[in-house]
Symmetry: C2
Subunit: 212 residues, 2 copies
Amino acid sequence: MGDREISKAVIKRLPRYYRYLGEILNNGVERISSGELSGKMQVTASQIRQDLNNFGGFGQQGYGYNVKFLYDEIGKILGVNRDHPMIIVGGGNFGHTLAKYDFKKSGFVTKAIFDVRPEMIGEYVGGIPVYMMSELESYLKKETVEIAVLTVPKNKVKEVADRLVKYGIKAFWNFAHLDLDVPDDVVVENVHLIDSLMQLSYRISDYEKKAE
Amino acid sequence: MGDREISKAVIKRLPRYYRYLGEILNNGVERISSGELSGKMQVTASQIRQDLNNFGGFGQQGYGYNVKFLYDEIGKILGVNRDHPMIIVGGGNFGHTLAKYDFKKSGFVTKAIFDVRPEMIGEYVGGIPVYMMSELESYLKKETVEIAVLTVPKNKVKEVADRLVKYGIKAFWNFAHLDLDVPDDVVVENVHLIDSLMQLSYRISDYEKKAE
DNA sequence: TAGATTGTTAATCGATTAACAATC
DNA sequence: TAGATTGTTAATCGATTAACAATC
């Protein structure tokens, strides 16, 4: 199991399958065929079956897929069946907003926020305590943290990420607009909002061009 | 020109080229070859040349690319050489944070925030005025708006998006965790934070599996 | 001119779609 | 059993990489 390398394109589609299956499950539907699911999502039935068969045969010939079972299995593949303790590093606007955001139902639990500003000591944001950056190492020595969310200013990110790697962090959710340089066993997921906006902007112009 | 359809994969790489070229330009570098750029980014020289030649011959044999020129050209392709007036619809946490975020240098200018809560009337967030949702139509009749940022609660998105489409909005930057259903001439760029986290979570588990 | 490096064509690789035998 | 639908193999399509002639 898990021998073949799963392509990035497949991984990217999994959360979307998971979301649709969750909704279908909520609607009380018990089973679904790749054909029906294909109708609801913008994906061919063939692709759905191929994607799922990367991880195992979750369906049954002549029947389709049991929605609850498939939902749970994809949940396991994505790792949302267990908790992922997170810390938010950088307590500015974005850090604040993410702290208040509810990722708990997907298993992502924010444990602490770290910032440099002394006036934030003892504060709570969305029920989550704020600590000083100087406490980072001692905190990570006694607490288990899986993911570090990087919301520090761009010019501080490199230094902060290096420290976190040194303290044993293996996963970053990076909101800074730069590419992190980390060891091979550390994973980075980037959220580059400006890139996203630029793609939108391209598509606006592109459309206008075609319409002319 | 602009006959062939440009693939999504190419578009996705453009903002990254733009960012690297901006940095290289800031470092006072005048020219760069695809080989050198390839070394700095995680992209083959061949891919760089292929990508760029989708839009025209920006380089010169034996010389390479003029950094400033290439930077500006990619800027034009992405449409960041001109202003894109935006409104933020939904003045909650996320709306607030985006309002304070500085997208102006890339040409994305937030003009107004819309919310349903009467207590927000007359407020300013990051210097941007808050209006009531009931004023949406009259506002859009007198102001030019290119992009609507959707930060309203998930259960309101469909209704809000439909209204905005009716009032002539052709581009959405959607932060709600659902797929918008819009006419063909309307473009949607999604920011699905939970999907991003799930991909990270998959890669964490995946790595652990391999390490065993 | 010689050297460098593009623009572009050809080759390879990977991902998506189609088809169908297996089987519930 | 007959019908449905999967799992999987084969065919197609598209994207990436390699190669090289064109040319600055």
